[in-house]
Symmetry: C2
Subunit: 377 residues, 2 copies
């Protein structure tokens, strides 16, 4: 386990992608010294474009902008700072919002050496990342994730993009950031339910990739829920480590390896689509989805018997749901059959074999799917 | 020199980009056998999306669609073919046209294995290429260029994109095609002035990269202007070879090498911007721009003395202009100073040293620029 015991310890995780490798810096108190971190990674910097979620302009983005505006480069000239805020919420991942950003970048005299800084949750990270990927065929960008989900998942791995009116994440690019700065202090303003929702993805990494981390989570669940600083920092670092490892093995989702990150997600997407987006938070749907997947694995006889009870207990200890009485198998099944992981009517799922190990299982009968859904009602 | 003497010879040029390498196939009679060419490159193909310039739907795109629709894959199942046409002209490289394509791709059940086929000039190639680059973070695409400019320049090298209302090519991606198919027969419907305009880029390759090719062009100018099939084919192949070599050395415009392709273009862009786009065709502006650059090189004493007269004669033999009486140095200079190749008020130009060799020269005084412009009035 990576760990930082002192209040000011910064944990570093590398995403290993050859000449596109980058660091994730995790720790408290990073907003006010942000400009130093960025300048030490990109010494040629002269112009930054800060794109922030409107809801966190105050208290977080303005401090970061202040840090950038008052900093001096080696030759004693100041950085040129442009900034804009984006309305909160999934609807900002749209063509019209993207077009506005493009025009604003042009009006701000953005050139190939400019750097985009995305400050917010997954919405702003995905949107601003794609704006960076596509402006003059790609400029550098930095992720400053401010939700737990964005810290452990969306800010790492280079998936950027927007939605089409009827379909999520259809447009985008694989475009890696040059740096990810995670200031754990910003979690202090994140509402309880949003925070806990992010823990679902943390638990996911334990199940799919790292039994030791899973055991550590079991031992530290109460500290996590209480947002104990050192515990949160270590959990984020381990999660980023897992994601970095998987992304490093399959950057563009071509080998299939990256699919393990979808553990619980085929069920979760079907839940989200059938109850209407927004009723359940994403991490809540993922928790239930992981339970459905684990039940299916048990049912198919491919899963070590202690996994399901341990997973159930950890999810509950993190204040997340393990059942969903409204789950409607009849409505969910057709959604899953439209999912990309379907081949010839049969379904495919990422299923756990034991804590720390999952695999893609194809050829699954719709009746097994229904049974798995019903096991969590 | 590559050459194809028989009517049915197909010349092949490889663009060497590691695992992104691809072939350019150049020859007549390729539209009706197009499906075979594509299927032999991409055996896993099940769905193609043909995006064509409206002006060439008849006579060319429909034949290509017919070839695709009637073809059978190895397992005897037909290809699924979706097709759409895009209005001719630069205004199609817009956000609204791109959004329409994205929605159409979604409605056509496009997935990661689908392949976009761009049939048209540089406008459709750039637009459809970026649609391919950005749909589900990138799907494969094939270029079928139908103007001479697109055959020798825009279809090769992976630059794709659209314009913002006030600025050309601001949005896009480096996204390499999987295959370029150049059917020289389609040039038969291209108007004379558009055809000759494309020859400017052909001459450019001789000056910047290949003295032997330049000499061959001098000897074959009349055959080129008369659109003699074997001559045209060889000129396209040599041009693609030059562009492929430069792109292979500097795929993403990072080393500076790719800048040599801008020979004549800093002047040309300033001419185009000051006379209003459309009055001069791009290749006409490039011809004049190369003359201005050569005059500047002579003036600075860095250019072998026979270059300017030889270049002048070849441009004229290709029916292209070498002077531009309306050139307005006072209007052009500020445009060039806004250009990306300016650093600290001084200007930078790609200038010829001798036939086959150019270099980037910085620190050029505005007075030299004015003199070069005036030398071509
Ligand atoms: N790129 C990827 O790999 C990837 C992975 C997973 C999810 N995603 C995407 O991420 C998005 C979801 O991300 P999210 O859950 O972070 O949602 P989000 O960005 O909408 O943020 C959730 C809410 O929290 C608010 N907020 C953000 N930081 C805050 C803070 N520090 N204090 C108080 N409020 C704060 C936001 O204003 C918003 O209302 C989805 O669009 C999803 O598609 C992308
Ligand atoms: N991607 C690159 O590397 C690159 C390089 C150079 C230029 N470009 C771009 O290319 C575009 C210009 O390309 P273009 O000159 O091919 O223009 P274009 O695509 O607009 O085509 C010119 C005209 O010819 C017509 N046409 C096309 N093929 C025809 C045929 N076979 N018969 C009859 N008419 C035909 C079209 O309808 C159009 O009206 C610009 O947008 C420029 O930015 C891109
Ligand atoms: Zn998720
Ligand atoms: Zn050109």
């Amino acid at each position: 386990m990576l760990s930082g015991s002192n209040r000011n310890d910064i944990l570093s995780v590398e995403v290993p992608l050859g000449d596109r490798s980058y660091q994730i810096e995790i720790g408290p108190d990073q907003i006010d010294t942000f400009s130093q971190t960025v300048l030490s990674t990109m010494s040629d910097l002269t112009h930054v474009l800060v794109i922030a979620d409107a809801a966190i302009q105050e208290p977080w983005a303005n401090r970061l902008i202040h840090s950038l505006s008052t900093s001096l480069r080696d030759d004693a000239t100041p950085l040129r700072v442009s900034s804009i805020s984006v309305p909160s919420g999934e609807t900002s991942k749209s063509i019209s919002q993207l077009s506005e950003l493009w025009q604003w970048m042009l009006d701000s005299s953005t050139d190939r050496r400019s750097v985009v800084i995305a400050v917010g949750g997954g919405v702003v990270g995905d949107l601003a990342g794609f704006a960076a990927a596509s402006f003059t065929r790609g400029i550098r960008f930095v992720q400053v994730p401010t939700t737990l989900l964005a810290m452990v998942d969306s800010s790492v791995g280079g998936k950027t993009g927007i939605n089409l009116p009827t379909s999520k994440n259809m447009i985008g690019a694989f475009w890696q950031p040059s740096l990810v700065v995670i200031d754990t202090d910003v979690l202090s303003t994140l509402p309880e339910r949003a925070y806990l929702s992010g823990l679902a993805e943390v638990i996911k990494y334990g199940v799919i990739d790292d039994a030791e981390f899973f055991a550590w989570l079991e031992a530290n669940a109460s500290g996590l829920v209480a947002r104990d600083d050192g515990t949160v920092r270590a959990a984020i670092a381990e999660s980023c480590q897992s994601k970095a490892r998987v992304v490093g093995e399959d950057e563009r989702e071509t080998s299939g390896r990256r699919a393990i990150l979808n553990y619980g997600h085929t069920f979760a997407h079907a839940i989200e689509a059938t109850v209407g987006y927004g009723q359940l938070l994403h991490g809540e749907a993922v928790s239930i989805g992981m339970q459905m997947a684990a039940n299916m694995a048990v049912d198919l006889g491919i899963c070590e018997p202690t996994l399901l009870p341990r997973q159930t207990e950890l999810i509950q200890a993190c204040g997340l749901p393990t059942t969903f009485p409204e789950a409607n198998a009849e409505a969910m099944l057709p959604v899953m059959q439209r999912d990309k992981k379907v081949s010839h009517g049969k379904l495919r799922f990422i299923l756990p074999e034991r804590i720390g190990s999952v695999r893609l299982v194809g050829d699954i009968d719709p009746s097994s799917v229904v049974k798995a859904i019903e096991s969590c009602r």
